[in-house]
């Protein structure tokens, strides 16, 4: 199995507080990995550091053996790392289809191409296919702002997938989603796995993780605690203590 992502003791300090302290781990290609830990353990901060939305104080990150150094967040996405956000970030004023097209189509991004004939039929077809996977194709020409919470979450996931990234980071995909939609999420993630993608999920919904994740990494106040298959993690006292605030 080839290592896709190799994170070497990254850390981030806000003033005196260590949000993440030399946190290291590696993720193999085409695996589904979970990341859990009590609130404030630094999970989302870790996501932000990996995707360069937040500059790190120390440590380095290798993706497909290339050091990512100081690349801006949008460049990482082109390299193949995409992510969703804890509070959903979609474009309310754009239509559902436009939301997906944004990460799908690159050809006409530069301004002078606006004066040429634009043919986005191919991208439109792909967008339609992706949206139908999450049953949103009916709403494709409505404004994304009119979608429900669950639908917005699915839209954000589809937009992230549409970037074509190899490694996709989902930040609490199951949170606040009703059961039928949860199945859609699961189906979505399994499809990604089938396509050879690698998925890294922050989640509190343990049954969801138990079913989906092949391995789970546990964090506690910014530091790595342990990593194991889901069944072992469930029984590990250290994890229970971390969650019950034993430390």
């Amino acid at each position: 199995m080839k290592t896709l992502l190799d994170v070497r003791n990254i850390s981030k300090r806000f003033g005196g507080l260590h949000a993440v302290e030399n946190f290291s781990f590696a993720i193999e290609k085409n695996t589904i990995i979970g990341l859990i830990g009590p609130n404030g353990a630094g999970k989302t901060t870790a996501f932000n550091l990996i995707t360069h939305f937040l500059p790190r104080n120390e440590g380095s990150i290798f993706f497909q053996e290339k050091n990512l150094k100081k690349k801006p967040p949008y460049a990482l996405i082109r390299h193949g790392i995409a992510r969703t956000f804890q509070q959903i970030r979609i474009f309310p004023e754009l239509t559902v289809r436009e939301n997906v097209l944004l990460s799908l189509s690159w050809k006409y991004d530069s301004w002078w191409k606006s004066f040429l004939l634009q043919d986005e039929s191919e991208e439109n077809a792909t967008a339609y296919k992706l949206l139908s996977e999450v049953h949103l194709e009916k709403h494709r020409d409505e404004k994304a702002g009119n979608l429900s919470y669950g639908q917005s979450k699915l839209l954000e996931m589809v937009r992230t997938i549409a970037t074509g990234a190899e490694l996709i980071l989902f930040d609490e995909p199951a949170a606040g989603v009703n059961p039928p939609m949860l199945n859609t999420v699961k189906k979505l993630i399994r499809n990604l796995k089938a396509q050879g993608k690698t998925i890294f999920i922050i989640e509190h919904n343990m049954p969801f993780l138990m079913e989906m994740a092949e391995e789970i990494i546990v964090m506690e106040n910014g530091k790595f605690l342990c990593r194991d298959v889901p069944t072992k993690i469930q029984k590990d006292i250290r994890v229970l203590e971390a969650y019950l605030g034993g430390s």
């Binding site: 992510r83 970030r89 754009l94 097209l101």
Partner: protein, 291 residues
């Protein structure tokens, strides 16, 4: 009588182009730039200086004004576009103040407060076109129409879509793999270039130019036109311009006592701006918008 009507149409055309250019950066992309009037002034002065010092004609000046304002905006953008929200508003307002001070003091270039006089009327294929004549109106409306077609294409293209996404949530746009800083800079450069054209049109109409073109009240009128029209709403900006200019001319005809004509106009502008933000944040002309 018809000349007055023509002069109103010409002023409206120039302001419609300026408001539409502002609509591209402020309305569509959400760049709260209070210094947009600088590009209008730079375009106007480019045309005035090139015409009086080097004899450049109307068409060449339009190109030069667009180019120069665009280049100026590139530098200006690098300076200010790292900022967001209120930092950007204040820094650009300050830049407008600096521009006005430079135009007033750089006597050798702009002739300072004495202004530049004796600018030629537009000349196309050898025919000089008199101000306020029908030909003049047709010339200006055609130029504004053509430029608006370019703007229309920009608004309704993938690039326009990207700008709208940046306005909604710049972080999400970056998460979709877009270089938002580059897109914002181009949005500013293009909107400056079109504003520069509006400036050149003003110069070749008024035939006289002084630093008051950088005056602060002009900024508020621009914000008003785009807000009333609906930020990011292509047709809204044009209708917003017509409405604001119409209201601007109203006190003159209602016969308000002179001492409060200026003040009553400002009160109407204030009421319109505040009213729109309260009850119609999407602008008064949303019937053009997709629901």
């Amino acid at each position: 009588m018809i000349e007055y009507f023509f002069s109103l149409v010409i002023i409206t055309a120039i302001w419609a182009l300026l408001a539409q250019s502002y609509n591209l950066s402020f309305g569509l992309t959400g760049l709260f730039n209070l210094g947009h009037i600088i590009f209008y002034g730079v375009g106007a002065y480019t045309a005035a200086i090139l015409n009086t010092k080097y004899g450049w004609g109307f068409l060449e000046n339009i190109g030069a004004a667009a180019l120069f304002s665009g280049i100026f905006a590139a530098g200006f953008g690098l300076l200010t576009l790292r900022l967001s929200g209120h930092y950007l508003a204040i820094a650009t307002l300050g830049a407008a103040m600096i521009a006005s001070v430079i135009a007033t003091n750089w006597i050798s270039l702009t002739n300072g407060p004495l202004g530049i006089r004796g600018i030629d009327e537009p000349e196309i294929f050898g025919i000089t076109i008199e101000a306020d004549s029908l030909l003049f109106v047709l010339l200006y409306v055609t130029v504004v129409l053509l430029v608006n077609i370019l703007l229309y294409k920009l608004f309704h293209s993938p690039f326009g879509r990207l700008l709208r996404a940046i306005k909604d949530d710049e972080i999400a746009a970056q998460a979709a793999g877009k270089n938002t800083f580059k897109a914002k800079t181009w949005s500013l450069i293009l909107s400056a270039a079109f504003a520069g054209i509006a400036g050149a049109l003003y110069t070749h109409y008024r035939l006289f130019l002084d630093p008051t073109i950088f005056a602060l009240p002009e900024i508020i009128v621009l914000v008003l036109m785009v807000v009333v029209g609906g930020r990011g709403n292509f047709w809204g900006a044009i209708l917003g311009t017509i409405l604001v200019i119409f209201i601007g001319e109203l006190p003159r005809f209602i016969g308000f006592p002179d001492s409060i004509i200026g003040a009553s106009r400002n009160i109407m502008y204030a009421a319109l701006l505040i009213g729109t933000m309260f009850w119609k944040p999407k602008g008064l002309f949303t019937f053009f918008e997709k629901k």
